[in-house]
């Protein structure tokens, strides 16, 4: 499915978080949204997912989701947002129970999602017993269980340590490779963006505007290959230069606001 955000403006009181942002992701495309802290990236994703109402602008969806899709647009959250009183299995089942699935179908979806995220052995564990990386895998399993057409990933790796981040990045690539869903991926880490995205949308500091959209014309699987490394590194540098500039000013502005 295709998702298009057009002319999104968002204000909190007299603070403008986003100004006239337009952005789209084609069917099966991964678009990374990157920008300095406080530029409204997460706000933009909340708007894309219909849990925040923009001051102006609209979100349009095109295409028909698969027949087994229960929740077209599905989030994976930075803080995982697991229900701490439910075990892994029940956290996944929580988002299925209000759909009139048969018991067997519900069980099958839960089991399948846990298997895909290697959580089958931890189905009975409570979130507090899991590491950060495992918790996020529960978040991914929960999203997989509703078979979304569009994933909205809101800094899904930002709360994790560097090693875990690497592992989960591979998991996300694997997730995409299986069904080719459309993904909007918010991050402040340009390396994650380079690794995952077909296109990277760089937002400016507050108020967030689209500063530049950069294509990554190297197939995802071959970005680590030696012959592509120079090209990828150059793209990374260009991206970093763009973000660095914004980040430095944003950092100063944050101080000024306090």
């Amino acid at each position: 499915m295709e998702i298009a955000l057009s002319n999104i403006t968002h204000r909190f009181g007299d603070l403008t978080a986003l100004e006239n942002v337009s952005l789209h992701a084609h069917e099966g495309e991964i678009v990374a949204i990157i920008g300095p802290s406080g530029c409204g990236k997460s706000t933009l994703l909340g708007i894309a997912g219909g849990i925040l109402k923009p001051t102006a602008g609209e979100v349009v969806l095109r295409g028909v989701p698969a027949a087994d899709t229960l929740n077209e647009i599905t989030f994976i959250f930075q803080d995982f947002s697991l229900l701490p009183w439910l075990n892994v299995r029940d956290n996944v089942a929580f988002v299925l129970k209000h759909h009139s699935l048969g018991g067997a179908e519900l069980q099958r979806r839960v089991a399948d999602a846990l298997e895909r995220t290697n959580l089958t052995d931890f189905a009975g564990a409570l979130p507090k017993q899991l590491s950060g990386g495992m918790r996020q895998r529960v978040g991914i399993a929960r999203a997989l269980a509703v078979r979304p057409a569009v994933f909205l990933m809101d800094e899904p790796l930002s709360a994790l340590d560097a090693q875990t981040r690497e592992l989960l990045l591979d998991d996300i690539v694997a997730l995409w490779q299986r069904d080719h869903p459309t993904i909007l991926y918010v991050t402040h880490n340009f390396q994650e963006a380079i690794r995952l995205a077909d296109r990277v949308c760089v937002l400016s500091r507050r108020p967030g505007r689209v500063r530049e959209i950069i294509d990554i014309p190297v197939p995802r699987d071959s970005r680590a290959k030696p012959e592509n490394q120079a090209k990828v590194a150059a793209l990374g540098e260009r991206l970093w230069a763009l973000i660095k500039e914004e980040a430095i000013v944003a950092d100063r502005e944050l101080v000024a606001h306090v």
């Binding site: 929580f94 988002v95 209000h98």
Partner: protein, 267 residues
Amino acid sequence: MNRSGTARERKLVFRGGGFAIEQRTWISILAFIGLIALWELVTGTGLVSPIFLPSPMRVLRALWDLAVSGDLWRHMSASLVRIGYGWVIGTAFGVAVGLMIGLFTVSRAVGLPLVAALFPIPKIALLPLLILWLGIGEGSKVATIALSVFFPTVIATFSGVDSVPRNLIRMAQSFNVPLWRIVSQVLVPGALPGMLAGVRISIAAALLVLVAAEMIGAQYGIGAFLILTGNMMQPDRLMAGVVVVSVLGLAMSIIVSTVERRLLRWR
């Protein structure tokens, strides 16, 4: 660094001690036994007149007699029925109103100032009014207890709801989970720790009002028994009654702790 030329070697001094309270059950038991022994000593030697303070053995004896004669059970059952009805009614209404205040803007605007205004009234002060309305019988006592339970329950419930992280609600909404399921599966379990903390407070309030209400006008009940024995100058039976109230309070607290451990295992 080494200006004098000789490297002076010295042991590092540990400075991280203290501030680590440990559990020492035997000290607690020892202190308790010591206190009883001291009590026995001052009363047994005649240092304190038994009219003011009967010895622990005499209190125990009075307790035994009360249990054997069935008086203890008669008074206790009357009290338990009152506090049981009062607590359940007060809690049911308190949770309902607390949820409304926690969930809806209008009910918060209406309810919060009312609760703030009525909460500080000592509920026992309303007993005469409630007797006027409901008569001298059980109704007025149960209603007073229910009121004393209602307000702390309302406050614990809505602040419990307020403390549920909003991101969990947004998560549920983003999966199109219907409102009633968000309330029952996200808000109520999330508010449970606060609500159970409220139960501790409401039980203490109920016990206080129970004893006070029974002192004012009841034939049976722990409070009535305490007034009776006081009037009849029976300090041993009076203190036996106090022990019963204390044990009752302790038992309720243990029940709440057990329920808490069961329900809040996820924390």
